[in-house]
Amino acid sequence: MSDPTTLTAAQAVAAIEAGELGAAELFDAYRVRAGADELNAFLWVADAPPTDAPEDAPLRGVPLGVKDLFCTEGVPSQAGSKILHGYCPPYTATVVERLARAGAPLLGKLNQDEFAMGSSNENSAYGPVLNPWDRSRVPGGSSGGSAAAVAAGMAPWALGTDTGGSIRQPAALCGIVGLKPTYGSCSRYGMIAFASSLDQAGPLTRDVTDSALLLGHMVGEDPCDATSVGHPEAIRLPQRRDLDGVRLGVPEELSGEGIEPGVLEAFHAALDRARELGASVQPCRLPHAPHALSAYYVLAPAECSSNLARFDGVRYGVRADADDLVGMYTATRHDGFGAEVKRRIMLGTYALSSGYYDAYYGRAQRVRTKIAQDFVAAFERFDFVVTPTSPGVAFQLGAKTADPLAMYLNDYCTVPMSLAGIPAISIPCGLSEGLPVGLQIAGPAFSENAILDAAFALEQTIGFDASPGRVA
């Protein structure tokens, strides 16, 4: 076979099954590509595939890129942070373990915003990732390394995590497919936690079929994660070619003000294609969605300030020298955390502190309820809610680093779904200024199969070329 890295993961599985391609040959081709990474996407690359890999496993040895924050036994897992520099965990995250057993061995660990806090990958202690469509631009974040590696053909597929948009937004900015599953579908065990009530693992892939294939081997209840419930039905490979009778709701709050004109143009063109496939497209309301970002930036920092208390220089990671215990804690955290992580720890600690708890955390949890109710009401009239994934295309490196609020606005269209715990996919739907635009399709809890079907039908008719090389 000429260049096996041009195949989608599903095509590679088929080629290996048919005896046209060897799994070792494929792994080696990707190992070489990942080793020559010029985008700073990879933080670690495997030397060789595992020798104990099950040969007849369904994913046939097609290798997997994994976001740095997934614990991988004996392999650096630093969550993009200096405070975990060199940390090699003694165990492997459940979803990584499940995928290895299903025949998708670890290819490498992928760069990310520190502890998944960011929308541009510029918050990594190991340097920013570059967007393969334009290396002067960000790949999005926080799963920026995962998105860039898949878009650039350095990994067939990759795992990311999404807390407020961290799979969907980088997928949109890199022109690939990113899926955030229903909260609880996949185990969080072994994911270095940011905001536990929001974090979910999900696939970043070249197309919708690969997304379904990977997700199908990720979902499942796990005794090690009390919030995991698995999925009520098996994830199927999408087949649907039409959208007959499908009702799409376009929330006014997330498809107008604040969205770049070029993004809106590509979004509306995609809605026209949906109509051609038989869908009805109508405006809908999510009245509390404009408050989602505010609620999110209380809840996520509050949870992060608690989760990140464990990084104190005692059990793992780096330690700063000090004469006494509290001095060691505070100096270690000063030296080890980057600016955005410190900002969120401070914000969260403030919101949870005595006298402010009700005004911030208590109110935000109530707003969260209203946002979830908005979606329940919308799904009484519509099968899916569709929005642009990101308000803009990939921006220049450094363009938003000086203004935290401007950076947070990147998550404007993705945060409401995260707060409601519902699944949402981003698929590429066109270009603006020569850069990819993402279309987000969100559905009720556990509607992944229906979402994947609708995304597949749209993908076939849009015919987006996911290879940045052909554009540059």
Binding site: C88, G317, V326, R333, H334, M346, R366, R368
Partner: protein, 95 residues
């Protein structure tokens, strides 16, 4: 608005040492973020229950059965300092 003293107070709660420069920047940045967040104060949330969990979970407890876990050595392997089979830390008393 959040002032310098509040920043220092919260930093103490968070066990986070901040440089002089960071204290000043944090006061300005947190103030501007909180200004934005405070818009949720305008919403009428009377009688709305706070979200405790987004997905209905009925039986979150697993059976309490002993099973192998990390060995003592594995648990200590990543620690910056160990002594006598435990994590070694500086004295709680200032030196």
């Amino acid at each position: 608005m959040i002032d310098r003293d509040q920043v220092l107070h919260v930093a103490r709660l968070a066990r986070l040492q901040l440089s002089e420069d960071e204290v000043g920047r944090m006061a300005a940045e947190l103030s501007s973020i909180l200004d934005h967040i405070e818009k949720i104060g305008e919403l009428d949330l009377e009688g709305v229950a706070p979200t405790s969990h987004v997905v209905d979970v009925s039986h979150a407890l697993r059976a309490d059965e002993p099973r192998p876990s990390l060995s003592h050595e594995q648990a200590l392997a990543s620690a910056p300092a160990v002594a006598d089979g435990g994590f070694l830390v500086p004295s709680p008393q200032a030196g």
